[in-house]
């Protein structure tokens, strides 16, 4: 990736106020559906907030309110010291938004898309084009610059959308599920890009359904569910509350489950849980735990079918914080009947933490 741009001007950052985003008691309903019920949130300048939550939690609604696309019913929100309702017009030139669904014109080329956005920020044609080319180079899209974006892959579209959010070099970025629907490789690429953007001193709010994504990119995580923030803290604080890696052992048919649990108990501070042929252990530390587990099981003479060490997923977070698994709100599922997209996403979520 070409050299990072350092020339970000942060007029807003010089203000003594250190809060980039300040949200108090924010509520928003769509008819009967209460999308937000009293959200409080603080994001410090120069930090990344990861807004973690399942489908229908209200993440997009919050992002849309903070980016002036939607008016809240009650409560208030200040972004870079500007009120999202009263100072909406001024705020728009200070923020960049990459929405949940890449907002690019399919029939325009990458270059035309970015040039158009630049001109809508008030740039001259030449200035907008130069900036567009700079961004295309930065996001590895130069070769595709003159192709209509309908020929782009999902990852390329996301990068273009992100580039569009950066046209005016905003000090504050909103990224709504930036990696949802991408393959693992594109996902890693995008993470790197986002890390670079943040390293330049930007503030960012990103929403995600993946704990590992929030863990990697965010300084602070706010867990949302049913329209409110149910927990927040640094990734480490949160992980302390939900425990570390999960070791899952599937015992051979007819194996002694209890014996296996006893054999694995020393790996954890908590007693293992049993579930069918599965023994689950919250291991104390990742390193060496697989070797240790295999050794203990074979010493006890227990046959193993499958064994995996995985990071806690969003589901684990929810079970730990609320005692129940994350559920997709039913209204949400009908609200957008993009069946395949949704099904794909739920599948994604399952696999998200699975790293052997």
């Amino acid at each position: 990736m070409p050299a990072a741009e350092v020339s970000v001007t942060h007029a807003a950052r010089q203000s003594p106020d250190t809060c980039a985003i300040e949200v108090r008691g924010l509520c928003k309903s769509f008819g009967e559906v209460k999308a937000l019920i009293g959200v409080d949130l603080d994001v410090q300048r120069g930090t990344v907030l990861g807004l973690l939550g399942p489908n229908g939690a209200g993440k997009t609604t919050l992002v849309r309110i903070l980016t002036t696309l939607l008016k809240p019913d009650s409560g208030r929100a200040n972004v870079l010291g500007l009120d999202v309702v009263k100072d909406a017009a001024r705020l728009r030139s200070e923020i960049g938004l990459a929405g949940q669904y890449a907002a690019v014109d399919e029939n325009l080329t990458g270059l035309e898309n970015l040039t158009m956005v630049g001109r809508l920020y008030g740039d001259s044609r030449a200035g907008a084009k130069a900036r567009a080319q700079e961004l295309l180079a930065r996001f590895d899209l130069t070769e595709a610059a003159r192709r209509p974006t309908k020929t782009y892959s999902g990852g390329m579209r996301r990068r273009l959308d992100l580039a569009a959010a950066l046209v005016a070099k905003p000090p504050l970025l909103f990224l709504d599920e930036p990696t949802t629907g991408l393959d693992p490789r594109s996902r890693l690429d995008l993470w790197t890009v986002i890390e670079e953007l943040v390293a330049e001193g930007r503030t960012a709010l990103l929403t995600t359904q993946y704990l590992d994504e929030a863990d990697r990119l965010a300084d602070t995580i706010a867990v949302t569910d049913h329209g409110r923030v149910i927990a927040s803290g640094t990734p480490d604080e949160l992980k302390d509350r939900i425990g570390g890696e999960r070791l899952e052992v599937r015992i051979e048919d007819g194996g002694d489950l209890q014996a296996a649990a006893n054999a694995l108990a020393p790996l954890s501070d908590e007693p293992p849980t049993l579930d069918g042929e599965l023994v689950r252990v919250n291991v104390r530390q990742r390193r060496g735990s697989i070797v240790e587990a295999v050794r203990r099981l074979s010493e006890a003479g227990i046959g193993v079918d499958d064994l995996l060490l995985r990071r806690p997923t969003l589901d684990d977070v929810f079970i730990a914080l609320t005692g129940h698994a994350a559920e997709t709100s039913p209204e949400r599922a009908d609200a957008k009947s993009e069946g395949t997209e949704r099904a794909g996403r739920l599948r994604d979520r399952r696999g998200a933490g699975g790293r052997r």
Binding site: R64, A103, D105, N107, V117, Y121, G122
Partner: protein, 254 residues
Amino acid sequence: MRRAISDTLVIAERNLIRLPRAPELLIAFTVQPIMFVLLFRYVFGGAISTPGFSYVDFLIPGIIVQNIAFGGFVTAIGLNEDVHRGLIDRFRSLPMARSAVLAGRTLSDIATNCLSIAILLCTGLIIGFKFSASVPEIIGGIGLLLLFGYAFSWFFAFVGLLVSTPESANSVGFILIFPLTFISSAFVPVQSMPSVLRAFAKVNPFTITVDAMRHLWVGAPAGGYVWQAVLWAGGIMVIFALLAVARYQRATGG
């Protein structure tokens, strides 16, 4: 104000750039009207009697008016796609003039309508259409056509914001407008219709506009038609522009 104009031009330019890349739209603007002119002229023309005019002179003003009324369907499809694919969110998150999305959209229709008029006029002239008009009358006719087309762009903008898919935007527009254009003087003299249809055809704005065009281009007697046509176009434009703007604000949660 200056900003509103430049933003509108940027959006209009964008709409025009993408047009040639959607071949089915381009065909709707070029091949399809030519086909209709030829079919009417050579298939129906012989069977329709138009006292005082050759059928081709009678047909061309009528068929151009019909075509221009549909010119705005690109707006319906385009706006609908923009809303549902999130592009409107991108626009609304920018510090651009709010009015530019709709204004730019309808403005680009004027350009495509000019193209339609040129294509149809050339086809007409090739198959024997003759103006019997002064240059100001010819130009006045083109002006009336563009105004009428612009008014219908707002109708289509409203339809595009109202329905949930681009396909239904297209068919709703078609179902509402197509019969109106046929129950008018566009293709046959209204005198030949059964009395109920004739009564409707006489007050139909399409008849009034087509008759005004015939007055301007081929010297048909027409009394107050031109002014009535202008008033109709203005009225349609104002009503649907208001509806479209209100709908736009609702559709975008503003």
